[in-house]
């Protein structure tokens, strides 16, 4: 479905990509854009291919077809086929859905690793780690604990904080609400909103918690299995009865 992006300055343009694992096609003909300052959510049923699309954008799988363009404000970079560590250096931070911390490292070491390979200024890295511990008090409290021993919600916070250490341009978040109690969920999503507003970091958010995702995001895309089914502002999606019934559980 074509969308009007003429009035939008896209920082990320995904153009008709296909993601496959060998013979398995996980997603095909996927296009989406993220405009300056936006939070965009990508919804859809289990197995639709959301995680695969996110992985393709993060460089963890190379798309079999299509192009991905990323505008960092100075140059437009072609991302498709570049390995993940190169994209991380361009400012794309990916927080996967599972195995999100380094279990045999302490909380502080995990944060430090978030910038160690991306920032050359060691003092700035230390400052960034400290300011994130102020933002996430639970991490300061658990500073010297092995990250593998944190609770699920604490690990989620650590992973988000780690992604922020090197001051990324774009954050890709795969189901950040998994395992969060309602109160923590509210806090984390509030924090994401603030990070988006204050730090100007755009976000692509894959979510199962549709209500929360639509609250947070400016626009939504909905995938059916393997392909795109809807794109538009969140209010329109909430009003669309067919989609609401099909995927969103009323």
């Amino acid at each position: 479905m074509p969308i009007s992006v003429s009035d939008m300055q896209p920082i990320l343009t995904v153009d008709r990509i296909e993601v496959r694992y060998g013979k398995v096609v996980a997603a095909t003909d996927i296009s989406l854009v993220i405009g300056k300052g936006e939070i965009v959510t990508l919804l859809g049923p289990n197995g639709a291919g959301k995680t695969s699309v996110l992985k393709a954008i993060a460089g963890l799988v190379a798309p079999a077809d299509g192009r991905i363009a990323f505008d960092d404000g100075k140059t437009v970079h072609e991302l498709a086929g570049k390995p993940g560590h190169v994209l991380a250096k361009l400012g794309i931070a990916h927080v996967p859905a599972q195995n999100i911390v380094l279990p045999r490292m302490t909380v502080e070491e995990n944060l430090e690793v978030g910038g160690r390979f991306l920032m050359s200024d060691r003092a700035a890295l230390q400052r960034s780690v400290r300011s994130l511990m102020d933002r996430f008090p639970i991490l300061a409290e658990r500073r010297t604990q092995y990250a593998g021993l944190l609770s699920g919600g604490e690990q989620r916070q650590l992973a988000i904080a780690r992604a922020l250490v090197a001051k990324p341009r774009l954050m890709l978040l795969d189901e950040p609400s998994i395992g969060l109690a309602p109160k923590t969920l509210g806090e984390i999503f509030g924090l994401l909103k603030r990070i988006n507003r204050e730090d100007g970091i755009e976000m692509l958010l894959v979510e199962q918690n549709v209500v929360k995702a639509l609250e947070l995001a400016n626009r939504a895309y909905v995938m059916r299995v393997g392909a795109m089914d809807f794109s538009g502002p969140c209010e329109d999606l909430a009003r669309d009865e067919r989609l609401a019934n099909a995927y969103l559980g009323s």
């Binding site: 993060a58 963890l60 560590h85 991380a88 195995n99 045999r104 690793v113 160690r116 390979f117 991306l118």
Partner: protein
């Protein structure tokens, strides 16, 4: 008698420290690539013969020869990675067979070149014996070897803990996808892990040859197997555990030789393996669910 026991204890520490270097070499490759490199022993052998090669070429400098031996082991290890590991794309069984093949090739190649006889080995310097008490003596060579092995181990642990490439190795070992997300070049880090492992193998091969005063083309089979036993008893993925288990095993072996003769040496090692696995299937320092993807 006490002097004799102490002497055996020192020999045990000295062989144990060499075992530890071998086990950590396995651990590095296991950690970053999640594969078992069965050419590890053969690369040790190549390192020990590299030293002899330089002497054979007429360069009569022990330290230069050691540097050459380590470099030769490193290059051999990198070749194995390029030819027998990388093309197989992480296929666990294929890599085991391919690296075993590489080991056989190397061992038989060196056998061809040397007729397979044990070769006498040079010493770093003229041994001087110090009398400690009564009949008990230690040589400066012996102390030097122990210092080298333990120093290498400590240096390795500090490297993994505190340097940027060391951290990259630990991050890749714990989660290669996450490593990419934080900007680690995973491919490069795997090669680095392999290179370090091969260089350590070279060191172990040379230290072992100096200790026994000789080397032979199949020396890596015995050393490599000991390293594997330690890796499994300690629990895969644990560097400090490897050091402890290796030292204990070295001393245990040494004392079992005193008690029963040299035929008891391996009996002790493999009994320790079986007993440990009966009591703790994940190794002494291992945890359930850990596969070596962690250092």
């Amino acid at each position: 008698m006490a002097e004799y026991l102490f002497e055996q204890f020192l020999i045990g520490i000295s062989t144990g420290a060499i075992y530890a270097i071998v086990a950590i070499g396995y651990n590095l490759v296991f950690g970053v690539m999640n594969v078992l490199n069965l050419s590890h022993g053969a690369v040790m052998m190549v390192g020990s013969f590299g030293v002899l090669l330089l002497f054979y070429l007429g360069i009569d400098n022990f330290w230069l020869a050691v540097a050459f031996g380590i470099a030769l082991a490193l290059v051999t290890g990198l070749l194995v990675e390029r030819i027998a590991v990388r093309p197989l794309k992480g296929n666990w069984w294929n890599i085991k067979v391919a690296t075993l093949g590489a080991a056989m090739f190397l061992e038989n190649f060196v056998t061809r070149l040397t007729d397979g006889r044990p070769m006498p080995y040079p010493r770093p310097f003229k041994p001087v014996y110090y009398t400690i008490v009564g009949d008990f003596e230690v040589s400066n060579v012996q102390l030097f070897l122990i210092a080298c092995s333990l120093g290498l181990m400590v240096a390795m642990m500090l490297f993994l803990r505190h340097t940027t490439p060391g951290k990259a190795i630990r991050v890749v070992a714990q989660n290669p996808d996450l490593a990419q997300c934080v900007g680690v070049n995973v491919q490069q880090t795997m090669v680095l892990g392999f290179a370090l492992s091969a260089a350590l193998a070279g060191c172990a091969g040379i230290l072992n040859a100096v200790t026994f005063g000789s080397t032979y083309p199949f020396v890596g089979q015995f050393l490599g197997l000991k390293g594997l036993v330690i890796l499994i008893v300690a629990g895969i993925g644990n560097v400090r555990g490897c050091l402890i288990v290796a030292l204990v095993l070295g001393v245990l072996e040494s004392f079992s030789v005193v008690a029963g003769g040299s035929q008891y040496r391996d009996l002790v090692a493999y009994s320790a393996l079986v007993l440990t696995l009966l009591v703790r299937p994940h190794g002494l320092f291992g945890e359930e669910g850990r596969t070596g993807r962690e250092i």
